[in-house]
């Protein structure tokens, strides 16, 4: 894992003091709320329906046991005892007092964490693959690139007042676990003639105008990635729309001028910018890469797992993924208990996962964009002990990628933007499909709920997506089918008229019934939908 040096630490410490000063001026009335708003937003502090919300960056979703423990302590001390893991691999506290915010940032800084650029029209937290460094199929670990970009994007002087927020993801595997092509810029590491570089995708995103990002460059080498991204951002900063915030994301620019024209402008700018010496030397990426070296795996370990406990065997089959090192496994920890809030964890649960990371996973864990947690380096021999502890903590749900592994935004229970409540709907759907056999029978089905058109719950990318809207003061839910945020990225299509909260649960059941009746051998829900199309589902729902 990356560790701060004195330069990184000094910047984060200075930021804490700057924000303390700004908050003090607000509390004494020297700053009005209007003047304070842009300042607090640059530090991830939102004013929500009931309280302030603080969004803490978890760069590329990787953190240590110590960092995780600190997140739990803050949840207990300053929040109502919970943290909420988000679709951008961040953590949000929903019940923060303004006067406490500087102290929270100071506590985070002691464990090399911050809330810098977790909101505002700037380059946000860089996201990545939760299996980075441990899956066998990647070209290279994408996280050193992500850390290089974290530093480059922090307080970038030219790109802090962009037309709109800007999200970047970096992956290195053909299996896209980070929804890379639904980002403003997505990088996929590839190898060409023995050299590692990146394919660059630009103009993806969700929101009210979802787009899958097209490829804009086939290869950019590590020693030119910064100047190339500066060119991408400069074209966007100069020509992205600023007349309408709903048309201000880069996807609209790329769509309106066309991908070829955007590419042409970027290449022209890049021809200029590559001469300016903006790129760190390759030694800098090598320095960062050294922090991500594989831990000291033991050799000669057995791959056998004692499956005599059926509940444990079920959990292993669902939650454990293949690790590149013999005798090791990747453990997915579900934050989607049937009656829970997707992505929420209590202070005690966060503390327990921190303990598990230290005891069993080389002091490392990950956050996924699907709002779950990962212990990336677990000995297969330790799986049973870990499972027992997870069971005791209510964290042993075996539903990864199943219909109850629901992504949901905070919705109208917390969010000032929302039109509808996401959480109670997620709970109703989970309750309807709670039976383990039924979930297993349906198989992989990614269900994603957004409480408004801003699409924080990734509903466009759900195999089944749900969008909450306000219809003359009444919550109404639109149903979408056929989206995907993975390597086969696609956008879901709306089935037709929307439903009440109970009505949409019934509609989902009809959809899964059609799938079970129509599927051919080996087909996931998404495959069947793609083969037979919308019509049979529509007939079942509305017929």
């Amino acid at each position: 894992m990356y560790r701060y040096d004195s330069y990184d630490q000094a910047i984060v410490d200075a930021r804490v003091e700057e924000f303390r000063d700004q908050t003090q001026r607000r509390l004494t009335g020297a700053l009005t709320e209007d003047q304070f708003k842009p300042l607090r937003l640059m530090n991830g502090l939102y004013l929500q329906l009931h309280a302030y919300m603080l969004r803490v960056a978890i760069p590329y979703g990787t953190l240590s046991g110590k960092q995780m423990r600190k997140l739990g302590e803050i949840a207990g001390k300053y929040d109502k005892g919970y943290g909420h893991f988000t679709t951008r691999q961040n953590l949000q506290y929903n019940w923060i007092k303004l006067a406490d915010a500087p102290d929270i940032l100071a506590e985070l800084a002691t464990v090399e964490m911050h809330a810098i650029q977790t909101s505002g029209n700037c380059i946000r937290n860089i996201s990545s693959d939760q299996y980075a460094g441990v899956s066998a199929d990647e070209v290279a670990d994408p996280r050193p690139w992500a850390e290089l970009l974290r530093q480059w994007s922090s307080f970038h002087p030219e790109f802090t007042y962009l037309p709109r927020k800007f999200k970047i993801a970096v992956i290195a595997s053909d299996d896209d676990r980070a929804a890379m092509r639904l980002h403003d810029i997505g990088l996929k590491l590839v190898e060409r003639d023995g050299v590692v570089g990146a394919e660059v995708y630009a103009g993806g995103g969700m929101g009210r105008t979802p787009m899958v990002a097209p490829l804009i460059r086939d290869f950019i080498a590590e020693d030119e990635i910064i100047s190339y991204l500066e060119a991408c951002l400069r074209v966007y900063n100069r020509y992205g729309r600023r007349d309408n915030k709903y048309k201000a994301r880069i996807k609209i620019l790329v769509h309106e001028i066309g991908v070829e024209e955007y590419k042409r402008q970027v290449e022209e700018e890049f021809a200029h910018m590559r001469e300016l010496g903006l790129n760190p030397p390759v030694e800098e990426l090598a320095r960062i890469r050294a922090f991500f070296a594989a831990p000291a795996y033991e050799s000669g370990l057995s791959d056998d797992i004692d499956r005599s406990n059926p509940a444990f065997a079920l959990w292993v089959d669902r939650q454990v993924a293949a690790h590149k090192a013999p005798g090791y496994a990747i453990v997915n920890i579900s934050l989607k208990p049937i009656d829970g809030i997707p992505g929420d964890a209590s202070a005690e649960q966060i503390g327990l996962v921190a303990d598990l990371a230290e005891a069993y996973s080389f002091d490392e864990l990950r956050v996924t964009h699907a709002q779950n947690l990962v212990l990336p380096h677990v000995k297969k021999a330790d799986l049973y002990a870990i499972w027992q502890k997870l069971v005791a903590a209510g964290l042993a749900e075996a539903n990864l990628d199943l219909i109850t592994d629901i992504i949901a935004c905070p919705g109208l229970d917390y969010c000032a933007l929302a039109n509808a409540r996401s959480i109670p709907l997620a709970q109703k759907i989970a309750a309807r499909f709670a039976a383990a056999e039924r979930q297993a029978e349906i198989g992989e089905l990614k269900l994603k709920i957004s409480g408004c058109i801003n699409a924080c719950g990734h509903h466009h990318a759900g195999h089944i997506g749900i969008l909450g809207v306000d219809r003359r003061g009444v919550e109404n839910f639109q149903l979408l089918l056929g989206g995907s945020g993975a390597e086969d990225a696609s956008l879901g299509q709306i089935t037709g008229p929307g439903f009440s909260e109970d009505g949409v649960v019934d509609a989902i059941e009809k959809v899964t019934d059609i799938y079970l009746a129509e599927r051919e051998s080996g087909e996931r829900f998404l495959d069947t939908y793609r083969r037979i199309g919308m019509k049979p589902f529509k007939e079942a729902i509305y017929g």
Binding site: Y7, D8, P38, E158
Partner: protein, 146 residues
Amino acid sequence: MVEFLSFRDGESTQEPAVTVESFTGQSNATAVRIEPGEDARELLPHLDRISLIEVNFPGFGDGRGYSAARIVREAGYTGELRAVGDVLVDQIVAMRRCGFDSFHPARALDDAAVDRALNRYDDVYQKTIDGRAPIWAKRHPETQNG
């Protein structure tokens, strides 16, 4: 409170700035004002006769002026580069990094707050045209870029 802030040696240009259109169309003017949405590159053929470029920020959230500033500096412009309009204390550091060397904010700034802002961060992560060595260069003093 400070109404005008300059980091240049000597006097600032007093000549009123003309629009980009009238500047490129004719003129013996040596001062020009860029509005958001205007292309700073139109000025590049004329940089040697310009002594003042004003970049207007009608609202602090419109960041196009940061790109305009870097573009003229990257092209070698050494004259005065002035940010005008909704220029707030919290933007001064980023503007300095993009090459602005004078400021005429619509609302006067608090001197002490400006000083605090300018001295808050010892180091920076990016290379720009302001001549500051980025952190990566300090980490690798022996390399070519550093």
